[in-house]
């Protein structure tokens, strides 16, 4: 196999499997993948630079639009950090509402994910049914906040809107329906033969491999690594509404499905708990326009894993530096190392297995394949595309 030209399969940046642009090159030998590289950065908008010449409230609207699926979590992490800097504490009712919307967003994100993951495996009926049921949680979010995706519930120092009794009952009714559907999907995913053929012991990651590669969130918890910021370092209302950790042992694709589904049961319980004893206090607290100088680290559990914010202020009304490290970033390392040895047909499933969110991060991981000595003529996507263009002129 040494002298023969390596057969490179470029997937992306435009590819039906990827809902977002990321460029992956899998060197294949027949159908078996021997090495994988990724080249992202297609969604890099220079947010961290732009934030430095906007004031604190404007920055929040930009940070919320880092990622459409986990926008509330970005805003919460940012607000908690800035409130800590300003030495201010959001009132308890606001904290509880932040937890409520964070959990609703987790449901919306996980349902979106396993619909798309089923579509990757060619199981379109599950994709259609899941996304039909996901409309219920979208309607709930729209009822509360007026918008389906960017609900921007947060303010620095509190929350924008309140949950009245009628809305609470509608949420409880929606949650009951969703819980019953999630039980149904959990049963399908663990029994349907053809789907198991695509997920059982594929892309297995042992727990110390997960630890060394720094995997976070459900991807780590599927390999029995107990990492969940809501439990390790409870923030916002999570100290008043504790969370139980959900982990699986096998660490394969199926385990990642099961962890995320079981997490939803945890979210349903949490939402009911928050709705039952919602502390009554006012919604926001006064925050000075100029945040005193200092730096703070704010960590939050996004649907995909630990989200890390480093915020520094120089006392003016504009932030000095905001560093955002999103959860998908460390998970990339895990995908590209477990990809070696699998079949090409498993790649889309593996890529979607960690629930990658390109807009959250546009990073690159370059993993050398084992046999370094190969002389390979890599034909990257650009060369392929250039070739394509000359042809049709």
């Amino acid at each position: 196999m040494d002298k023969q030209e390596k057969f490179i399969v470029p997937i992306g940046p435009q590819h039906p499997a990827l809902k977002e642009p990321g460029h992956f090159e899998f060197t294949v030998d027949g159908e078996v993948v021997t090495s994988a590289t990724a080249r992202l950065g297609y969604v890099h908008r220079g947010i961290e630079k732009a934030v430095e010449n906007r004031n604190w409230t404007q920055a929040m609207y930009m940070l919320e639009r880092i990622c459409g699926i986990c926008s509330h979590v970005h805003a919460t992490a940012y607000c908690l950090g800035v409130e800590k800097l300003a030495g201010v504490e959001a009132p308890p009712r606001a904290q509880a509402i932040r937890v409520l919307i964070a959990e609703l967003e987790r449901i919306h994100s996980h349902m979106l994910w396993w619909g798309v993951a089923a579509h990757e495996g060619g199981f379109d009926i599950l994709f259609m049914y899941t996304w039909r049921d996901r409309e219920t949680v979208m309607e709930l979010l729209e009822m509360i906040s007026g918008n389906r995706v960017h609900y921007s519930a947060n303010l620095i120092g509190g929350v924008k809107f309140d949950i009245d009794q009628k809305q609470a009952d509608a949420i409880r009714k929606g949650i009951d329906y969703l819980e019953e559907r999630t039980r149904h999907y959990l049963e399908i995913i663990t029994t349907d033969e053809t789907f198991l053929g695509r997920t059982r012991n594929i892309g297995v990651m042992t727990s110390d491999q997960a630890k060394s590669l720094g995997a976070v969130g459900p991807t780590a918890r599927a390999s029995d690594v107990h990492r969940d910021v809501r439990i390790d370092h409870p923030y916002a209302g999570y100290d008043r509404f504790p969370v139980q950790i959900v982990t699986e042992k096998e660490g394969d694709l199926e385990a990642r499905f099961i962890v995320r589904l079981k997490e939803l049961f945890e979210s349903y319980r949490l939402i009911r708990e928050v709705l039952d004893n919602l502390p009554d206090s006012e919604l926001t607290v006064k925050v000075p326009r100029k945040i005193p100088a200092g730096q703070v680290i704010s960590r939050v559990e996004a649907p995909r894993g630990e989200l890390f914010y480093y915020i520094e202020s120089n006392g003016s009304d504009q932030p000095e530096r905001i560093k955002v490290r999103t959860p998908t970033l460390p998970n990339w390392g895990t995908v590209l190392s477990t990809a070696v040895g699998l079949k090409l047909a498993d790649m889309p499933m593996l890529l979607v297995g960690i629930d990658p969110c390109f807009s959250c991060n546009d990073r690159l991981v370059y993993v050398k394949d084992q046999n370094q000595s190969l002389t390979e003529k890599t034909w990257s996507w650009d060369d392929l595309r250039n070739h394509g263009i000359e042809r049709y002129k």
Partner: protein
């Protein structure tokens, strides 16, 4: 799992040989300043002891106010473990912004280092690969967007 206070003590004692200055800006955080040379040794010590995982590398551009004193780039390595965060802080002058790479110890750190190379112009000799990460391939070589000196191609016509 040790509780927060014990893990911070454990980290402090691990990093004792290289510490220049130390501070705890918050109850669950330890902030240690090191010199650039022995950063790799400190990171290896933390990693070998299994002290959490490297969560992020943050860079901040510190231009100096008076002209003859040279500006610096501050690079912070954040290690998270449960509820506790240890930050290793390193200052690197504009003239020779060189830090040792930690990729031998932590392979997935290569992506954080590449971001620093691209956006701040810090060099990591020995890092596995240095081609572009976020910026397009035709991006001018010596332009580092995250430096304060960079104000974009044209004045943003938005505001």
């Amino acid at each position: 799992m040790l509780d927060n206070y014990q893990s911070l003590e454990y980290a402090r004692e691990l990093l004792k040989p290289w510490v220049l200055s130390e501070s705890t800006p918050a109850p669950e955080r330890l902030d240690v300043e090191l010199s650039a040379e022995n950063l790799v040794a400190a990171v290896t010590a933390l990693h070998q002891a299994g002290w959490g995982y490297l969560s992020a590398i943050t860079g901040i551009d510190r231009p100096s106010s008076d002209p003859e004193q040279e500006g610096r780039i501050e690079v912070m390595y954040h290690f998270c473990w449960g509820g506790v965060v240890t930050t290793l802080r390193v200052f690197v002058p504009y003239s020779n912004p060189v830090i040792g790479t930690v990729c031998i110890e932590i392979p997935s750190a290569s992506l954080y280092e590449r971001e620093m190379i691209e956006l701040y112009g810090v060099q990591f000799p020995g890092t596995p690969s240095t081609d572009h990460l976020l910026l397009p391939d035709d991006w001018p070589a010596d332009v580092f967007p995250m430096r304060k000196s960079f104000t974009g191609f044209d004045s943003p016509d938005a505001d």
